[in-house]
Symmetry: C2
Subunit: 329 residues, 2 copies
């Protein structure tokens, strides 16, 4: 029909994607399927996220960072569930601007992150679209049988934690859109966080061992903690002032007049890809040891109480939020 | 950024997709991941295909048939490999025309085919796009350990077969575009084949037991047999006149002056979703019994010889083909 693939479907697979394939399970991308042996004593964990140009990434974002972001938002889901990723399937919907050079750039990003995170390509599809480019990934991992952490295990009395810092994803998007005035190295750090967030895979086994419920922060801290509260049938209470800020976010924050409004932006912006989770109070010391051992910042935000929904306080007073926070749609 | 999801991501998941979820493994679509227990003695088989509006389906195609086609082109990949499907992940990239009624229609199609083919939704992503709608599915199945049929097992002396009939996919597309003049019921049959092809899952275990190499016919019979020849390192020789035609295709064919040109269209058009495969000559009788038992048409097209590529003859003379046949890009 309408769209013609100037670069060629078969050539794209053979020259660009086949070198990324899992040596055995991907069948060299020369078959219709991938074949993965069962892993005794383990469950298969799957997640799928899509990125659309103009919605989840900017038309000006380099395609290697788009590939890496796609990989990382999916890795982040597995990290938050305590799973160990091993492979992925990929659907590329190339727009008309995606000729050979652009596709090679995209694959460069995949290659770098495959190496960084120890995953391999299993299969997928490459098509062209007359609209904006979009990409969809199904990521696979393993957890020991029955050990995948859910959103539903938070219990009254648990504490609420988050890894790393919150708000850099949103600030990075503002920076990429030229809406922020900060020193160049601060802007660069924030843009890097927006374009290539760091999934917390190194903390994944600690989450598996100690978290009662967990989620990765993609919709925004408030919205995602709200998902835990809803699924667990509890209320989560946090103090907004405790929300952890990176050095760059702190500089931005210090320049705001309205502290509360600034905090609200940071905790609803999303795209953080940190792990928000609950854990028994008795496990806090062990969790801090695990975090320290990995030089990972770990912040206690609040606690789990009876009730429903999420209560976020600023200066001791509850702040009303639109419950869905920011959504990509 | 640009696109706003009028119908709402969370509402779409909760109201439309959650009822389709696998009762246990899909976690009610209220988590970030699906969790599938390992199946001892079995391999996991995965495939992923995407459909783009204006490329793989027409803007006028009803969305329930688009959903069913997406399901069926993926099921067809598993059927051709001898695998038993059990679940899928789905990424919906809704265009602006996809409000509630359109999404409900899409989900109606999924529901019907879930029931027909015994699969359940495991997870996915729903996003909006400012461009044309597109959909991407990752389908999962099981095969007994080590038994997944590949494209690479054809050996000199094997025979070449195809299930069902060839050319209805291409004719159906012509019919849907108003380019064919045939009786209304013929046109309807062809359009149905184009919109909701029938994956040959009922023949999947026979393929697993008897095929030396196999592929589903999506790019076109010539192109797909060419894939088997390339991967197996053999030559495939077939007679074009043997290519099986449905009743509707036969009526169309009988109206052509240039028989060879007509056959070339049918064997390169693609979108057939039959299984093309090779098997030992000694297994032909057993294969025919299996096909008869299922009332499935099975046609012997030719044989496997030493050499490379595919030779298709008309009236005894080799016909030159563009090797890639029709590709969607």
């Amino acid at each position: 029909m309408a769209a013609v693939d100037v670069a060629g479907e078969f050539e794209t697979i053979r020259r660009l994607f086949a070198p990324l394939a899992h040596p055995e399970w991907g069948r060299g991308l020369r078959d219709d399927v991938a074949v993965v042996p069962s892993r005794p004593g383990h469950d298969l964990v799957l997640t799928k996220d899509a990125l659309v140009e103009g919605v989840h990434f900017l038309p000006t974002d380099p395609l290697d960072t788009v590939a890496r972001k796609l990989m990382r938002v999916n890795l982040s889901d597995l990290a938050a569930k305590g799973a160990e990723p091993f492979g992925y399937l990929l659907a590329c919907h190339w727009s008309e601007r995606c000729g050979w050079p652009e596709r090679m750039t995209f694959v460069d990003g995949l290659r770098a992150d495959q190496k960084a995170f120890g995953v391999a390509l299993l299969g997928g599809d490459t098509v062209v679209t007359p609209g904006p480019a979009s990409f969809s990934m199904t990521l696979l991992g393993w957890t020991p049988k029955g050990r995948t952490v859910s959103r539903g295990g938070a219990r009254v009395g648990d504490l609420v934690f988050v890894t790393g810092s919150i708000g850099d994803g949103w600030l990075g998007l503002q920076a990429a859109q030229g809406k922020l005035s900060l020193e160049p190295d601060r802007l660069a750090a924030l843009q890097d966080h927006y374009r290539t967030p760091m999934p917390r895979l190194e903390f994944s086994d600690a989450i598996r061992d100690f978290a009662s419920a967990s989620i990765d922060v993609s919709d925004g801290l408030i919205a995602d903690l709200g998902h835990i509260a809803d699924t667990s049938g509890v209320r989560i209470e946090i103090d907004l002032e405790l929300s952890p800020r990176s050095a760059a976010a702190q500089v931005w924050y210090d320049g705001r007049v309205d502290e509360q409004a600034a905090l609200e932006k940071l905790v609803t912006g999303g795209d953080d890809y940190e792990i928000a989770f609950t854990a028994r109070a008795a496990d806090e010391a062990a969790l801090r040891r695990e975090a320290d051992r990995r030089r990972l910042r770990l912040t206690r935000l609040g606690r789990v109480v009876a009730g429903q929904g999420i209560i976020a306080r600023f200066a001791g007073q509850p702040v009303p939020f639109e419950r869905t926070g920011f959504t990509h749609g």
